[in-house]
C-alpha cells in the first residue's frame, strides 16, 4: 500500500494526539450532560441544524424529483381514473361533512345546555415528511416545517386516518417528530365506545401499541376505537389513535394484556397535518371540591 509522501516522511507518532483525544472526550461528555440533563443546548442544536439543512434537502431531492417525474408521466387514462375516484371520494366526504355541520351545531347547543365552554376548532396545516432518516434509535421523522412557520415543541401531528405523533424538536426550517410507536412515547387515550380512559404506549413496532393499565374487568373489546382524550394537554381531544386488536384477560394478573393497531399507517405516510391548538377543550374544567 502506497502512503502519501507527506504523511509517511516521518513515521513518528502524531504529536499531542492523546492530549487532543482527552480534551475532546471531556468536551463530549460535558456536551452530553448539558444536552441530556438540562436541554441547555437548544440554540446550539438549531444553529448546527440550520447548517445541516442543505444536506437534508440534497438527500431529499432525488425522491422529490422521482415523485415529480412520476406525476408528470402518468397517462391520461390513469389520471382520468384517479379523477373519477377523487370525485367519488369528494362526494362521500361532502355528504359526511353536511352531517358533521349539523352535529357540530347540535354539539354546541348541548354544550351550552351543560354550561361548558364550546370547543374551538383546531387550526391545521399540511407538512411533508422529508425523505431523511432521523434518530436511528427512535421512531422519528423529519418534517419540512420549522419554527419559521410556527411549529413548536410538543405540537400534535395527525394524518387523514389518525394521530401520527408529536414534534420533539422544532428547528429553524425543519422539525423532528416522534411517532406514537416509539417505545418511549405514551399518549392519553379513551375508548370511544365506553369512555374508558387509559394510556397507549409505543412498542417500537409500527403496527402495535400497548395498553398496559387496563384492569381485567374493564369494558374493552377487540374492534374498539381509541381516540385521544386530550388530557395530557399535548394532543387535542377526539382524534382517532388506534383500534383495539387483542384483549387477553389473565385471571391472576391485575391488568389485562391489551394491544391496539395504530389507525394511521405510520411507516407509509408522506404528508401529515400539524395541529395548532387554540384553546383547551371544555372537559378540562375541574369540578369544585
Amino acid at each position: 500500500m502506497v502512503a502519501s509522501r507527506a504523511d509517511n516522511s516521518n513515521p513518528a507518532r502524531i504529536p499531542a494526539l492523546g492530549v487532543r483525544l482527552v480534551a475532546l472526550l471531556i468536551l463530549s461528555i460535558i456536551l452530553m450532560v448539558l444536552d441530556h440533563r438540562q436541554n441547555h443546548l437548544d440554540t446550539v442544536r438549531k444553529a448546527i441544524g440550520a447548517a445541516v439543512y442543505p444536506l437534508q434537502v440534497i438527500v431529499d431531492a432525488p425522491f422529490r424529483l422521482w415523485a415529480w417525474v412520476q406525476e408528470g408521466t402518468t397517462s391520461r387514462n390513469e389520471l382520468q381514473l384517479e379523477l373519477g375516484r377523487l370525485k367519488a371520494e369528494r362526494l362521500l366526504t361532502n355528504a359526511r361533512l353536511q352531517r358533521m355541520t349539523a352535529l357540530e351545531a347540535e354539539n354546541a347547543r348541548l354544550r351550552d345546555l351543560l354550561d361548558a365552554r364550546t370547543q374551538v376548532r383546531d387550526e391545521a396545516r399540511v407538512a411533508e415528511i422529508m425523505a431523511v432518516d432521523a434518530n436511528p434509535y427512535r421512531h422519528s421523522i423529519v418534517l419540512d416545517i420549522g419554527q419559521g412557520e410556527g411549529a413548536y415543541d410538543g405540537q400534535a401531528i395527525v394524518d387523514a386516518a389518525g394521530v401520527i405523533g408529536q414534534i420533539i424538536e422544532a428547528g429553524v426550517a425543519t422539525s423532528q417528530a416522534m411517532l406514537i410507536s416509539d417505545p418511549s412515547h405514551s399518549l392519553p387515550v379513551e375508548v370511544n365506545r365506553s369512555g374508558l380512559r387509559t394510556i397507549a404506549n409505543g412498542t417500537g413496532d409500527f403496527g402495535r401499541l400497548d395498553l398496559p393499565f387496563i384492569t381485567n374487568n374493564a369494558d374493552i373489546r377487540p374492534g374498539d376505537l381509541l381516540v385521544t382524550s386530550g388530557l395530557g394537554g399535548t394532543f387535542p381531544a377526539g382524534y382517532p389513535v388506534a383500534i383495539v386488536e387483542t384483549v387477553v384477560r389473565i385471571p391472576q394478573e391485575p391488568f389485562a394484556d391489551v394491544t391496539a393497531r395504530p389507525a394511521a399507517l405510520l411507516d407509509q405516510v408522506r404528508e401529515v397535518m400539524l395541529i395548532w391548538k387554540e384553546e383547551q377543550p371544555g372537559e378540562q374544567e375541574l369540578p369544585d371540591e
Partner: protein, 161 residues
C-alpha cells in the same frame, strides 16, 4: 498533506457518507445500514492521519448528532475514540493484508457501537440489540468496497498533483 487542494475530495467523500447515513431505507433494512461515516473516517485516518484525525471526527460526530437528533456529543465521542485508535495503529494497519485489516475494522466498529450502546444505556434509551450488531456486520462486509473506492479517490488526488 499541507496543500489545500487535496482536502476537497476527502471532504466530498465525508459529506457523501453523511448523506448515505441520513438517506431513508425501508424499515426492515434500517438496522443493517452500514456506518458509512465511521468507515470513511477510519480510511482517511489510516491513510492521512496528519490531516484527518480526532478533531475532524469530533466535528463530523457533532453534525451527525444534530442531523439525527441523538444526544449531542454521543457520535462525536464514539467517532473521536475509534479514529484515535485507528491513528494509533495506522502504520500497522497499512501493511495488514485485506483479511486481517477487515478483521481489525470489525473490531473497531464493534468498539464504536459499544460506546454508542454504553452512552444510550447511561442515558436510559432502550434500543433493540440488532441496531448495534446490524451496522457492525454490514459495515465489515462493505469495508473492502469502501476501501477500494476511497483508494481510487486518493490515487487520483495524488496523481493530479
Amino acid at each position: 498533506m499541507s496543500s489545500g487542494s487535496g482536502r476537497l475530495p476527502v471532504i466530498v467523500t465525508i459529506i457523501l457518507a453523511i448523506m448515505l447515513t441520513v438517506m431513508p431505507l425501508p424499515g426492515w433494512a434500517e438496522p443493517f445500514r452500514p456506518d458509512w461515516v465511521a468507515l470513511t473516517l477510519i480510511y482517511w485516518a489510516m491513510m492521512l492521519p496528519r490531516t484527518w484525525s480526532v478533531g475532524t471526527a469530533w466535528i463530523i460526530g457533532i453534525v451527525i448528532d444534530v442531523a439525527q437528533g441523538t444526544i449531542l456529543g454521543q457520535h462525536a465521542l464514539a467517532l473521536c475514540f475509534i479514529v484515535f485508535v485507528t491513528v494509533r495503529f495506522h502504520l500497522l494497519m497499512r501493511v495488514f493484508p485485506m483479511q486481517q485489516l477487515t478483521a481489525t475494522v470489525f473490531a473497531i466498529l464493534t468498539l464504536y457501537q459499544f460506546i454508542l450502546f454504553w452512552i444510550n444505556g447511561v442515558a436510559g434509551i432502550e434500543v433493540a440489540l440488532v441496531n448495534y450488531w446490524g451496522p457492525v456486520i454490514t459495515g465489515t462486509l462493505f469495508w473492502p468496497v469502501v476501501m477500494t473506492l476511497l483508494s481510487g479517490v486518493r490515487m487520483r488526488v495524488q496523481h493530479s498533483r
